[in-house]
Subunit: 423 residues, 2 copies
Amino acid sequence: MKPNFSLRLRVFNLNCWGIPYLSKHLADRMKRLGDFLNMESFDLALLEEVWSEQDFQYLRQKLLPTYPAAHYFRSGFIGSGLCVFSKHPIQELTQHVYTLNGYPYMVHHGDWFCGKAVGLLVLHLSGLVLNVYVTHLHAEYNRQKDIYLAHRVAQAWELAHFIHHTSKKADVVLLCGDLNLHPKDLGCRLLKEWTGLLDAYLETQDFKGSEEGCTMVPKNCYVNQQELEPFPCGIRIDYVLYKAVSGFYISCKTLKTTTGHEPHSGAPLSDHEALMATLCVRHSPPPHNSSPTHGPAERLPLVSVLREAWTELDLGVAQARWWTTFAGYAIGVGLLLLAALCALVAGGGVREVAILLWTPSVGLVLGAGVVYLFHMQEAKGLCRAQAEIQHVLGRVREAQNLGPESQPALFLEQQERDRSEDQ
Amino acid sequence: MKPNFSLRLRVFNLNCWGIPYLSKHLADRMKRLGDFLNMESFDLALLEEVWSEQDFQYLRQKLLPTYPAAHYFRSGFIGSGLCVFSKHPIQELTQHVYTLNGYPYMVHHGDWFCGKAVGLLVLHLSGLVLNVYVTHLHAEYNRQKDIYLAHRVAQAWELAHFIHHTSKKADVVLLCGDLNLHPKDLGCRLLKEWTGLLDAYLETQDFKGSEEGCTMVPKNCYVNQQELEPFPCGIRIDYVLYKAVSGFYISCKTLKTTTGHEPHSGAPLSDHEALMATLCVRHSPPPHNSSPTHGPAERLPLVSVLREAWTELDLGVAQARWWTTFAGYAIGVGLLLLAALCALVAGGGVREVAILLWTPSVGLVLGAGVVYLFHMQEAKGLCRAQAEIQHVLGRVREAQNLGPESQPALFLEQQERDRSEDQ
């Protein structure tokens, strides 16, 4: 690699809103997306919510001349919805499916059936190892009463941990996707603090696009206007994040978003806005200390955000355990009911009523059994993330050489319990 | 690090057979295991089938003075059963839960409920980065008609891929566990070929223990003698595998197994035999070419084993798709039956019979629905592994600069289909 090595990388990210039969004008939008990607000829196009493999195949055929490499990340019942198109050969690829991803009985939300995941591609560009991650976290349906908060925090932790463990030999790390997290949300801070990834919107030298970099804006005709009522400018939940390691320097030259409509035809490509970043990777250090141009640098110390995540997960564990207890009682009631019905039939009682009640009783026992098992698994998944965070906190404390007197009350109280769970 | 750097590592591995209430003499065996581990003072003790967290806590308390670091890998409904005890601080830890792990309706086998996984610990020993993996793959219940073969191959692939992606900056990689694979089984060859891991039993300079290094032997009183009838010496399914990267050299000085009883008291510690390896890591190259002392080096070329795995996974996909079709028909039949019953009741027919048949019909529709969803997910999981293997094969072919004429018939036939699925 030459000492004056410089690499320009043009990246496209879009949550495509590709639910077959339900998303409006899907075929037309896919066609226009394909045309746009072919015309712009990015180095990488990373897409989320391509729920139908047929749509991926359509795009693959259409994009083949411009993007010879492509991959669809399969997972869960429906799929992860993630896919990538690359102008450069993909050297390696893998994926990690998140342990926790909502509840199977929240069928109308559907996230559980998707198998949300993070996909990883390793590219070798001019001798540089580039790890590209694409992901889509659990949706937020009610910001005031978010029953999925603990799951999203656990997902953000798994994502950060996956990047941490798989990018150790990468020169540049790039993460794109729909995080379903606002910039100051716990999951977003956790991800940034633990991986050291920088937010292209906050770092870019030149930004063009929607106000405050929002990726869901009220002027997009596909957006549910009611949901965006508390946010007049819109919300920023899709990201391009990056970092350089091992002596490289990466900067964001330009970042563009669409603004409720496709740049050429005027009609939106999706209910989300697309992100288009031009990144520059160099050997040399930056010519001057570039300060964030959009908003303050909002990086809180790692320890503080880890503690916050641990506490949020703890609330999730308590909730999961409440559900297992509740389901346990429901199983008991169902079994008692079944026993009473059997006795009624055997004793020659009102047989028709007994037989009629048989189905709901069996349903209650089976349904409660599934709920019990599910929340048991949920509690285990949350405890696992807690144990990993606790372990990192322990290592950070050791590294900072902090005495026990500086540990906060929360940890002093929990120490005995946690010690028995992890190291 | 000094140029004459040398590190001795003593490692213990055991599948503990720790099913609460079902495994014989569990409390006594856990006590003796704890005493043995304390007495021997290994650097690392890696355990599988510690299904109860209480047993882990018991061991943790007992081993705390000798092994100050410990971790229990939580997953699934029951847990992964994996735990580790280390004399040295654990720098980092994470885990990966296998996508496919048997069938929920095979309750008597129970693997699905466990959430089988691979755990990773990163240790820093005298400046050396050691990645330690512990795992337990799906059990083999019927070698002649193994319905879990495709799942075990997919697990072996995920394990190999996880090691590949997370060990890029490790100096030494160590994998211990119960692979439920015989040495020449496809999964075992796939794992070794893709990761380059060496088998301590085949490489060790000094071996003491059971005949042919078997880890389930007929003379162990806890072993089901009937299952071992085709294998008079026993079977070798537990492994210590290792490799050194980045200029280090690792060798196995000694490997011992228990031989159906604990070395001191005479009673077995488990239905599996324990493995005890003394490994030596050095900077310098080996003084002479050490040849395998136990059996021939059985490494087949990577391409051949990848193709074999791809074919096995393809059979699994066909099977999964057959089940989704079957379940689809069953759902149809169930719905028809329900409609007929409704009509019967509405028409004033034999109401009692109709009501009696209501429960099994609803059960049929729901049950078949779950089977349909499950096998759909299974097919996706198997296709995912196939796509990853196909991608690696593509890269290997490119690296070997093979023309299309040297591609085997299988791949020529499948090329069009696979191209449409992956790159």
